[in-house]
């Protein structure tokens, strides 16, 4: 009975797959706070007596996110090296302790707890996905420690224990929409991966569009990691929208842009504005497929500021001339310098003193001057629309006239009132 053997085997296969899925769910709903709250909270064990001070880096160096997060780790390392070479922070050399978040939110929570309690790090830098940040948040709050988070995200969050150095929605998505409106865009098609960031982003876009008279002709989500875009691409083509707003994540971008081009759509027919394609991702998608398409970030490698020239040169001499720098890398680099500036203003490594001193601290970052907003712990940033050029780098085609104040809850936008409830 060979057939029934294989069939039974298939059922077991299905059961095994199910078990994997359930295990995955389990790890997500596990209480992240418990990972780090066993020791008595409130009393810090940070040792400030020696000639060095410990800081923690937490990035995924393995798993699916390693591709992105290892670049953030590199630029953090560069910043630490530079700071040490120029005398450290309050005269103390930085001693970096690096932990691997392994692309799993629970791992991030657990490792963050270790960095705070066992290693007694004065501050922790890193995290990428919103789920990793949300998993670490209760750990940092319970232990009253500091996390510097360097990636653009969906907003609607503010914690006194987290400093957000990436863009919130009013520093990336809304300026991109302003740009499109300014260009005379009357209709949009939204394409995104099916998870929290694209869905939140698209809610904001829908509200914006409704208020400004832009028609949204379609809103489509592909499962994370999906490589099949025939139908979505056909829908976009049929909609004859003026532009596509793309919040796809990771490898799906490769499949999307290849299939987009193969039905004859280009930057000239229906341009695509992407919020998660940076310099790093262009070679994997294939330059042919994305040349001329638009991106929305606050930093590009090509920016012509003295601080950026120094940053790019230092990065390339440390990691190789073929490497590129991107927005999250710049935000991570900036985060370490900002912490240094805040600590030096406070004259102390103590968390409450750092929190009290943070408001108004500035740093001449590669993207331009950034200022910490002590009310929501975000920073001012200068939104820029870029166009992917023939070298695979991104040229700035539009830039906000001034740095934009962070507004994670979109409190200053009338049309966004219903979103933040």
């Amino acid at each position: 009975m060979r057939v029934s053997v294989t069939k039974r085997a298939f059922y077991s296969l299905a059961a095994a797959a199910m078990a994997t899925v359930l295990a995955g769910c389990g790890s997500q709903i596990a209480d992240p706070a418990s990972a780090g709250s066993t020791a008595s909270s409130g009393t810090s064990c940070v040792d400030t007596s020696g000639s060095s001070i410990k800081v923690g880096f937490i990035n995924s160096l393995s798993g699916t996110m390693a591709i992105s997060e290892s670049t953030v780790f590199d630029s953090l390392s560069l910043a630490a090296e530079e700071i040490n070479a120029s005398g450290g922070v309050l005269g103390k050399q930085l001693e970096v302790i690096s932990e691997d978040g392994a692309s799993e939110p629970t791992k991030f929570a657990e490792r963050a707890g270790k960095l705070i309690q066992q290693d007694c790090a004065a501050a922790v830098f890193g995290g990428w996905t919103s789920s990793s940040r949300k998993a670490m948040l209760p750990v940092f709050e319970a232990n009253d420690a500091l996390l510097f988070y360097p990636v653009q995200y969906e907003g609607l969050e503010s914690s006194k224990n987290i400093f957000y150095t990436g863009a919130t929605t009013n520093q990336q998505i809304i300026p991109a929409l302003d740009y499109l409106a300014e260009q005379g865009t009357k209709s949009l098609f939204l394409v995104g991966s099916d998870y929290v960031f694209p869905r939140t982003a698209n809610k904001i876009i829908q509200a914006y569009a409704a208020a400004k008279g832009i028609e949204v002709l379609g809103e489509e989500y592909a499962p994370l990691g999906s490589t099949e875009f025939s139908t979505i691409v056909n829908k976009v083509r049929d909609s004859k929208a003026d532009a596509v707003f793309n919040t796809l994540n990771g490898d799906s971008n490769v499949a999307f842009f290849r299939q987009y081009r193969s039905v004859g759509l280009t930057a000239d027919t229906i341009p695509v504005v992407s919020v998660s394609i940076a310099e790093e991702e262009v070679p994997g998608i294939g330059l042919d497929n994305v040349e001329g398409q638009l991106t929305a970030w606050d930093y590009y490698q090509t920016l012509d500021t003295p601080a950026n020239k120094k940053f790019v040169a230092a990065f390339k001499s440390k990691f190789g001339t073929e490497r590129v720098t991107s927005d999250p890398m710049e935000a991570a680099y900036t985060s370490l310098y900002l912490w240094k500036a805040i600590v030096e203003k406070a004259g102390s490594f103590e968390v409450d003193k750092v929190q009290a001193a943070a408001d108004g601290v500035t740093f001449e970052a590669p993207e331009g001057l950034v200022t910490v907003n002590g009310e929501n712990n975000h920073i001012t940033k200068t939104p820029r629309i870029g166009k992917i050029n023939a070298e695979g780098l991104i040229d700035t085609v539009w830039s906000s006239p001034a740095a934009v104040e962070p507004d994670p809850f979109l409190a200053t936008y009338d049309w966004a009132k219903d979103l933040t409830k």
Binding site: S70, E220, T231, N234, P283, G286
Partner: protein
Amino acid sequence: MELLIGQMFAGLSLGSVLLLAALGLSLTFGQMGVINMAHGEFMMAGAYTAFVVQQAISDAGVSLLVSIPAGFLVGGVLGLVLEAVLLRRMYHRPLDTLLVTFGVALILQQAARDIFGAPSVDVRAPGWLQGNIELLGAPIPLTRLFILGLSLLCLAGLVLLLKATPLGRRIRAVVLNRDLAETSGVSTRRSDQLTFFIGSGLAGIAGVAVTLIGSTSPYLGTNYIVDAFLVVVAGGIGQIKGAVIAAFALGVLQSVFEYSTTASIGKVLILIVIVVFLQLRPQGIFSLKTRSLA
């Protein structure tokens, strides 16, 4: 009308990708009863073969044509090694093959990450495959057309091999009744090895083909393995004609569902259809009548 044709073709094209991914599996899983979770990674190996060949031969057209046999060879040899080192010790223990090949899949993914790096690499499509032809106003991408042709070619080759060659006859004999075939003088060892070589080689070709439409990354295989198993099970285990019908039916259904709902809901509907179908017809579209007594 234009959209209808575009969508019909999208369905056929998705079906052809599914068929290409499932064809090799219907040999190894269907005919031999081995649950090879590393099948997707053999596809990934084929895709990276296309990348390596393109580094050596810069002309994208020539490199694609060279990649197809090269991908077959790389996939096939990986399959042979897997069969010789691990699987032949565990025929008749399908559950063990499931775990072992899952482990092998993880090892291959990590190996790809170590050799080629975690970011996806770019395999350029040749100039003559860029763009599309218009069919009654609907754009038919040339890459998709190429994959459709390639999968039909692979199918024809496989059917010819199984039905019209002595080797194919031996393979079928072993599937129908292993013991009787052995007593009749068929070397089941050799037949197993060859079946596995061909099945894995087809995965390699599928890998080369999907570089034209998606990303070439260490995770490539994981995108296709579940769908490939769905096709084989829905089609009827051990039935190539079942796999063909199932692949195209699932492809067309999915693009219809996806068009009328969304990509995520479409995927859910497809799974529901398969579950209901297997409840009504657990043996799949076609069932294999074996002549063994056990």
